[in-house]
């Protein structure tokens, strides 16, 4: 942890390999999750080109180790707020792949009933309190969730914590500043995680942030920051656990930066022309999935056969998810006005386009 009141840390990023005590089952579980996300996202891209999915669709390709490491650090009772780039988080948090895919397909069985789409996955059961499409928009509500936790729970091991994800580019928006300041002044049990994939659409971090060492940006609020290799699932999990612990036991807001790479364009329709061939070559080398697979096999935590079995199972799971989504019903058009309000009141206008406003 960097204590911003002492001299800021610099130098290389801390990376931890799996400790010897790391359980093989746990590791293969992570491999399963990372593979599931990878295949899910690839299939989502494909389904987009087939027009099964519409709107914007942002993928976690390249961020699988970060996703799985972060989710492994959370307890089921913790709360998670994410951005629009959140399919993987929903999956790793335990949402049914078929329901995630169904949401992308805009089906009634989707995680948000088909109303939210790719950017707005929500799952009360797993305390995934939303994907959010407005950059930075999730940060104040996440902070408020932490306020509600603090309102009800004293600091301690049993206290819930909130994790709020944001992109590197989102650190430049006012909501980031206002929220971190509130969390610091009110001492809220929240961990802000900057998922630094080096780019906000086409803009590199250095072009957008006056302090490009993003984990240091808690300094304006005395919020301790740490940077971790986002391609190392265990390192991510450990760093996140430490931060969550501190949030739980001290109601001390924390800042964590994971560094990884977005393997494709910003969204599925972005050809990422701003990247050179050399960039793309480098990216392929940085891909966390084959690296993790090789490492597990190397270290004997997984044999090649098991790995292949996991790959196949994940493939099947995703295929089943696509199939289920494809056969799921679209929301009934008569449900158009459902959920606009939670408490019905008099005189709510429910006209369809072209209807008279007043029944004569």
């Amino acid at each position: 942890m960097v204590d911003p009141t002492s001299a800021p840390a610099s130098g290389p990023v801390a990376t931890r390999g799996p400790t010897p005590s790391e359980d093989a089952e746990v590791l293969s579980g992570y491999y399963w999750q990372m593979t599931l996300i990878r295949l899910f996202e690839q299939r989502a891209a494909e389904m987009y080109t087939k027009a099964k999915i519409g709107g914007y669709c942002h993928l976690n390709l390249g961020e699988e180790a970060t996703v799985v490491g972060l989710m492994a650090a959370l307890r089921p009772t913790d709360y998670l707020f994410t951005t629009y780039r959140e399919h993987g988080y929903a999956l790793a948090r335990g949402a049914e792949p078929a329901r995630v895919m169904a949401e992308l397909f805009g089906r009634a069985t989707g995680l948000s009933g088909g109303r939210g789409g790719s950017m707005h996955l929500f799952d009360t059961q797993h305390r995934l309190l939303g994907g959010y499409g407005i950059v930075g928009g999730q940060i104040p509500p996440a902070t408020g969730a932490a306020l509600a936790v603090a309102y009800r729970h004293e600091p301690g091991r049993d206290c819930d914590a909130v994790m709020c994800l944001l992109g590197d580019a989102a650190t430049n928006i006012g909501a980031f500043h206002e929220s971190l300041n509130l969390a610091a002044v009110w001492r809220l049990p929240i961990v802000y995680v900057i998922v630094n994939n080096q780019l906000g659409m086409g803009t590199p971090v250095e072009a957008a942030a006056g302090e490009p060492e993003l984990y240091r940006r808690g300094c304006s609020y005395r919020i301790p920051g740490q940077r971790v290799d986002g391609n190392d699932v265990i390192a991510v999990r450990e760093a996140a656990r430490e931060a969550l612990d501190k949030a739980r036991t001290e109601h001390q807001p924390m800042l964590l930066e994971t560094v990884s790479y977005r393997l494709r364009g910003h969204s599925v329709v972005d050809p990422a022309r701003y990247r050179s061939d050399a960039d793309n070559q480098r990216l392929r080398e940085l891909d966390p999935l084959p690296a993790f697979r090789a490492r597990l096999i190397d270290e004997g935590a997984l044999d090649a056969q098991d790995a292949a079995r996991i790959d196949a199972e994940a493939e099947q799971t995703v295929a089943a998810a696509v199939d289920a989504a494809d056969h799921a019903p679209a929301p009934d058009v008569d449900s158009l006005f459902d959920h606009v309000y939670a408490t019905p009141v008099a005189n709510t206008y429910r006209g369809r386009p072209g209807d008279p406003v007043v029944t004569p």
Partner: protein
């Protein structure tokens, strides 16, 4: 019934709700130590402590968004935005977040949030501090927008808002805080979404809300003495809008004027007139006039401010003009 001020009614209601429900908490700038810019929250920090009555730094987007998140977890935050002018800094959280969450997330989360905020000009606070922007919020599905004109309605609507599970914007008005009225004792909540006929009448309907409704009532009472019978409809709720009550009144009186404190073009009155143009088409004897603010950033200098804001005189003129325009339509002369 007790005669108290609009300010007192709001204060007492907040206190009652804080006592009634442990999940209710207040947030806002200067609501605690300073006791509120307009003193609505006076004494509440002392009584309930900083857990329930929370001073916030100056960060409208941050603390409104924070209240949204707290509401998602089941608290019932009542936020004070010092004036509606500053709500612009929080509008992304209000409109893109609070208003959409229940629907966009398929009904899985509720946002029982109340935003109290005063609007209004006439205090020489100049262009950035004198606006009436409630029409913006009234345009947005997912929000409920209330605008009480009397102390009793302030109580009834604020209680209703706090107990409602949707985000509610409750518009107050600087010019109303010191006005007095009879307020029902004990529990008193009003149904959200209903207008009220403040004063029945037969010649013409004046439709208004918030401060303007009080002005309208005053003008109506004075015109009574001239033998002009004005019905006054107080909208109370801008969203939902009680179109039936408005149309029923004008179907009866055949004439109407809207009094509103916002700018004329694309203001609240536009929707009222459009509603009447459809719902009372066959009944209207004259065009519905809108008495609204002149379309200028409100100047500080008093004579300019007075010239820009709608008042009793302008309303009276519009009423008389409307009646004049129809006096040959089978009506007696009202001059």
């Amino acid at each position: 019934m007790t005669l108290i001020s609009y300010r007192q009614a709001l204060h007492d209601t907040l206190r009652t709700e804080l006592l009634r429900d442990e999940d209710v908490l207040l947030l806002g700038e200067e609501i605690g130590v300073f006791e509120g810019s307009y003193k609505i929250t006076a004494g509440l920090l002392t009584e309930f402590g900083p857990r329930r009555v929370r001073d916030t730094p100056i960060c409208e987007e941050g603390f409104v968004g924070t209240a949204i998140g707290a509401a998602m977890l089941g608290l019932r935050p009542v936020v004070e935005i010092m004036t509606i002018n500053f709500s612009l800094l929080a509008i992304d959280q209000i409109v893109n977040h609070a208003a959409k969450m229940h629907s966009m997330f398929g009904g899985q989360v509720r946002v029982p949030l109340v935003i109290r905020t005063p609007g209004g000009g006439g205090q020489q606070l100049a262009a950035t501090h004198s606006q009436n922007l409630e029409v913006w919020y009234a345009h947005v599905p997912g929000l409920k927008v209330l605008a009480p004109a009397t102390p009793a309605d302030a109580k009834g609507l604020l209680s209703a808002a706090i107990r409602d599970d949707d985000p509610v914007l409750l518009l107050e008005n600087l010019a109303l805080y010191n006005t007095k009225g009879e307020v029902p004792d004990g529990d008193h909540t009003l149904g959200i979404g209903t207008a009220t006929v403040m004063k029945p009448g037969t010649d013409i309907t004046v439709i208004a809300y918030s401060r303007a409704a009080v002005v309208a009532l005053d003008v109506a009472r004075r015109l009574d003495e001239d033998g002009i019978s004005v019905e006054v409809v107080d909208l109370r709720s801008l969203r939902p809008l009680d179109r039936d009550t408005i149309c029923a009144s004008v179907r009866k009186t055949s004439r109407a004027v809207v009094l509103e404190d916002d700018w004329l073009s694309y203001g609240v009155g536009a929707e009222i007139v459009a509603t009447l143009a459809e719902g009372a088409f066959d009944y209207l004897d004259a065009p519905v006039r809108r008495v609204a603010a002149a379309e200028v950033p409100l100047p500080y200098a008093k004579p300019l401010e007075l010239a820009a804001l709608p008042d009793a005189t302008a309303l009276t003129r519009a009423i008389r003009d409307t009646l004049d325009a129809t006096r040959f339509a089978g009506q007696e002369d009202h001059r």
